[in-house]
Amino acid sequence: MPNPTHRAERVSAPEGSVVFEADVLVIGGGPAGTWAAVSAAERGARVVLADKGFCGTSGATAAAGTGVWYIDPNPALREAAMADREKMGGYLQDRRWMARVLDSTYQHSNSLADWGYPYPVDDRGKSQRNSLQGPEYMRLMRKRTKLAGVTILDHSPALELLVDDDGAVAGASGVRRQKQDRWTVRAKAVVIATGGCAFLSKTLGSNVLTGDGYLMSAEVGAEFTSMEFSNPYAISPAFGSVTKTLFYGWASFTYDDGSVVPGAASKGGRSAIARALLEGPVYARLDKADDDVRHQMRVSQPNFFLPFDRTGIDPFKDRFPVTLRLEGTVRGTGGLRIVDDSCATTVPGLYAAGDAATRELICGGFTGGGSHNAAWAMSSGAWAGQGAADYATQVGPAVGRSLRSAGAVALRSRQRRAFAPAALARAVQAEVFPYELNYFREASRLQGALGRLDAAWRDVSEADAADASEIVRAREAAAMLATARWMYRSALARQESRGMHRRDDFPDQDSRQRHYVTTGGLDEIWTSARPHAEASYAEAAE
């Protein structure tokens, strides 16, 4: 029976550590993690949520405003919403998943309204539910998570998963960085909701998103998919962090001399901006916005204007320099491969949600705005939380299980060679930030980058354990490194251009490659092709 006051139990532990017994551990406290925690608790599970930062401000959503793929349950509208992005996504979406995400998002958004989210009301008195303001939304989700009886561990980065004798995931451990001690949660199932990996690019709110959950999951043998769809870049002022692609839809883009950058646009013309930035500075001015639009922008996302108001720039009248910041798998659609409707991964006891999980099922190879991300976070979060809770019930009492720590790189002593996290992070950035490597891909350039990244992996996997004060940064840098290698190995395997993945040497989409690329491994990265559901149904019918 659901019992929302059923809490995880803190048990005795050696000095310098805390230990909890729970049914479900959720790692990550953004939208996906909080929906997972609330949904698992509603199923009667005892839940711990561990966030690297602060549940309520952590992650890409809390700092931003986001659209939500909220469509009224009208068959024609739903059909149009599903058809809308299919071509852009390279026809890799799955209609069944799109339909269930639309249903789920509708239901969860309406729950938010019931919980008091201040949705705006339009001129005709209709509540408009296709946008969420990040700070407001995530403050509410933290409150709902606490109300559900979930134990929240803030500032508690997870470092590694725990597995039982059968290899099933059974908890995790990490550090409480403001208390200088360690935490362990023994659980029957774990939900990875750690977001994607944006490689410390300072794209808004994303510096907590370094692929930590990917690394932990790979260490227990989890698989990834669509990792080649990992190269979206967002426009921001060159000096600032606020990325809001939607608003640049009203921008003109110019070179230093004031002439227009041909073909440059926020939507459908960002590659022209990238090519121009390879030559020199590019400027934007939001001069296509009329007075009404200007007002709507101001009230819809006030933080967009902070960089301008605080530097005396009028973005509607003045030209300002822009840059493109890598969003990696935060807005890319790659992530942990999920194998059923409950968002289970290929590893027993391990579930994935939000940007940590692949979004290929509803986006294929391309995500435009954040609306699909937000819908996916709510939907996959709730399914993963419910799935993990149900799995925990099946596992039954966990008395006497012996658990083993599954982490390796930066955690285990190998040789007396120092681990240098900051240098490693910069080395990875040097391979994934450049437009000529990642935005515009080509076999020999990808192979060159992979050679350097593989060498870096061999180096760190033989390095000594990182110093306690550097352990979190070391694991972050190692996770970024592993993520870059899955990305580029997958990018090499897809010998065509599809979705956001563009190959200079294969500029066209190839109908024979309408499949998914699966990848995994750490010391040796492997890839394989997996059929798209529709393609395999067609085959079965023959």
């Binding site: 401000t57 403001q178 510096n207």
Partner: protein
């Protein structure tokens, strides 16, 4: 990046230490300190949560900027984000004014 904790306004409530997602601040016996400025991701959320408008985040994400606090306090910058999103008593009617639905589909 975060540049200023105004010692005159700060009440040492330590909310900023708790809410900063990248753990930039440290508690002290008095007012918190900016202990790891280089980890600041310029998300402005500490400002939003500060009930005293004692914090100022410079919009420059990649480099520190010297700030003249006296001059800054003569502008309306400190607390401007909090007022704009309606997280003050005087501006709470702004919480439901999101007009994104009019901007989508452009």
């Amino acid at each position: 990046m975060i540049e200023v904790i105004d010692g005159e306004r700060c009440t040492s409530c330590d909310i900023c230490v708790n809410v900063c997602p990248t753990n930039v601040f440290d508690k002290t016996d008095g007012i918190p300190v900016i202990a790891r400025q280089g980890d600041c991701q310029t998300c402005f959320l500490c400002e939003l949560y500060c009930p005293e408008d004692a914090l100022y985040v410079s919009p420059f994400a990649d480099q520190a900027q010297p700030i003249d606090l006296v001059a800054l306090k003569q502008t309306d910058s400190m607390g401007s984000y909090r007022r704009a999103v309606g997280w003050t008593d005087e501006t709470c009617d702004r919480r439901g004014v999101d007009r994104s639905y009019l901007l989508f589909g452009h």
